[in-house]
Subunit: 350 residues, 2 copies
């Protein structure tokens, strides 16, 4: 079967990780990435042999700095089956209206958007553990954002196994990504937003509208990962063992025992990932601390951590295959993504 | 009526604030504070005219640095009605066994301990909005710690008004006090502890054993205040207006409207306190963001902030009067404390 010809618009935090993952996937071919600025990221893409495209009025800027440019956005769109839009939040909608839609209608282009876009940008919002089957053959999908993806993984797995009556989660957000040296707060806990529910719950419901989920969120001065305190009421009584057994079945959820491993913080999680030689120290798995699980009657409570830069990468691989209608989707897609990215293989300690 | 003669053992973060508050109270006299080291804090105490006492083997150290010392701990205990122990966590118990107990039995000394001590240190753990009346005449009391005091204020007020069925609160702790330049984390979210429930719930139950409270806690890199996401199920349905009306009645709980004031973080709360000229920018009131209140059926959810350095100061004033058995306690004590410390007078904005 022919490989899926993939293009990526944007080569920032998410785009460059999706590019690396696409390069690894045996059933995909990375035709090119769109860069707007001939900066450090363009050097990295060149070094990796990734074809660079740009937009028309930036051609000279790239050429004057000695970069080889394969063409413009429209040229790339002619040559691919699936575009992954990884532009800054809100730009996907603009590109959809100005350019993508024409290629979707005339050439059958499929597009995968990211969670920074409004839900209306795509036919469906997507999470592999929640609604992968329903996404098959969609003209466009939206992979929800990092916090939403993290919440959905445990919510959907636990809902299928035990039934979720309601979720009340408190999100402790990282202030900035490691490279973002302009963002804060530096010494504050900031309500984000100053109301309950926060938008995260609303985003979760774009994927699982039937589940009663609400969230509260604060931002804190750290760059490594988000942390969620997830309180749920289930439809039936569960034990800690029930929860451990169920969560252990899923490669994209990693149970960590804080006591036996000594890993009781986001800093130590990242240090372990560095020690294990993971690319960029990424942790696409949702981390759940096993020691924190409190099960009492139908109540369930635990703490989980989300690596904001990489958690959506596996979901993007599956979304690409959903819109490309690959054989055996979704099971084979999820299996292949996990295998190639090595998910679920580390941290199985304690 | 004679003033209550008060001594304070320890002049650190809590001790120095209690000293300042005692100096202001019209019905109390500060006989002296115990200092162990002739450091910067001793200069400040001297400047304020507070009599300094020490322990026997530190007398020379103080004299060699030119400090006037009134005597040793035992001398102070002879001259006072109530000792407030504000020594580092765990030292209170040691002092109780080695020295205080003798003065309690032989001289009728009363002692107020802080929340860093185990509950067994005192006859009763204390919060002014929960069990002030029962504390009257106790030989010793323990003012619970900052997070516990913050939780208890809203829990007890709401329990009296509406009945609290259960509380599930997530605590986002500040990493260090502003002066503590050795503590972290600097860039991490750390589970504290890596289990649910955290010790805070256990501490809350030392004051209100009948209420079903559990807590989860993480530490984050900030120094200013703690923040709590407080989720409750009440015995009856409430509206947001019910909650606002009830919480507004209490001087030690301050409702802030984030939207109209622009105060949506701990940094902005502290900035407002600095602008208002509050001593050391202290905020002894528990802050509740009005915009965050979510009331749905019997569910209630809101975000509150605790100024860890000062929230227990008013409670210490009332605890002193409880053990000293003042007239009209507890109502007159709480009223006088609030009036003299100016509680509930600022931030009534929006």
């Amino acid at each position: 079967m022919a490989k899926i010809r993939v293009g990526i618009n944007g080569y920032g935090t998410i785009g460059k990780r999706i590019a690396d993952a696409v390069l690894k996937m045996p059933d995909m071919e990375l035709i090119g990435v769109i860069k707007i600025t001939p900066d450090y990221g363009a050097y990295i893409a060149s070094m990796k042999g990734i074809p660079i495209y740009t937009i028309r009025d930036r051609l000279d800027a790239f050429k004057s700095r000695g970069f080889k440019v394969e063409g413009v956005l429209e040229d790339l769109l002619e040559d691919i089956d699936v575009l992954v839009d990884a532009t800054p939040a809100g730009y996907g909608m603009k590109y959809l209206d100005s350019i993508y839609r024409r290629f979707m209608e005339e050439k059958g282009l499929k597009v995968v958007f990211q969670g920074g876009e409004k839900p209306e940008v795509a036919k469906k919002s997507f999470n592999a553990y929640c609604n992968a089957a329903e996404a098959y053959g969609a003209e466009s999908l939206r992979v929800v954002s990092c916090n939403t993806t993290g919440l959905l993984r445990t919510i959907c797995v636990l809902d299928k196994a035990f039934g979720v009556e309601r979720v009340r989660a408190t999100i402790v957000r990282r202030a900035a990504d490691p490279k973002e040296d302009r963002r804060g707060p530096v010494n504050s806990i900031k309500l984000n937003p100053p109301k309950i529910p926060s938008h995260h719950a609303i985003d979760v419901k774009t994927v699982v509208p039937g589940i009663d989920v609400e969230t509260a969120a604060v931002v804190v001065p750290t760059t490594l990962m988000h942390v969620h305190s997830v309180y749920m009421v289930l439809h039936r009584e569960v034990s800690i063992d029930d929860i451990v057994e169920e969560l252990s079945r899923w490669n994209r959820i990693m149970l960590i025992d804080a006591e036996s491993t000594g890993i009781d913080s986001t800093a130590k999680l990242i240090e372990a990932s560095r020690d294990l030689g993971r690319p960029r120290y990424d942790i696409p798995e949702l981390i759940v601390w096993r020691d924190t699980i409190m099960a009492r009657g139908r109540e369930l409570w635990f703490i989980q951590a989300v690596h904001q830069e990489s958690i959506v990468v596996p979901e993007n691989m599956d979304a690409i295959r959903a819109v490309a209608k690959t054989d055996g989707y979704p099971e084979k897609s999820i299996e292949l993504t996990d295998k190639i990215l090595g998910l679920g293989r580390i941290f199985k300690l304690g």
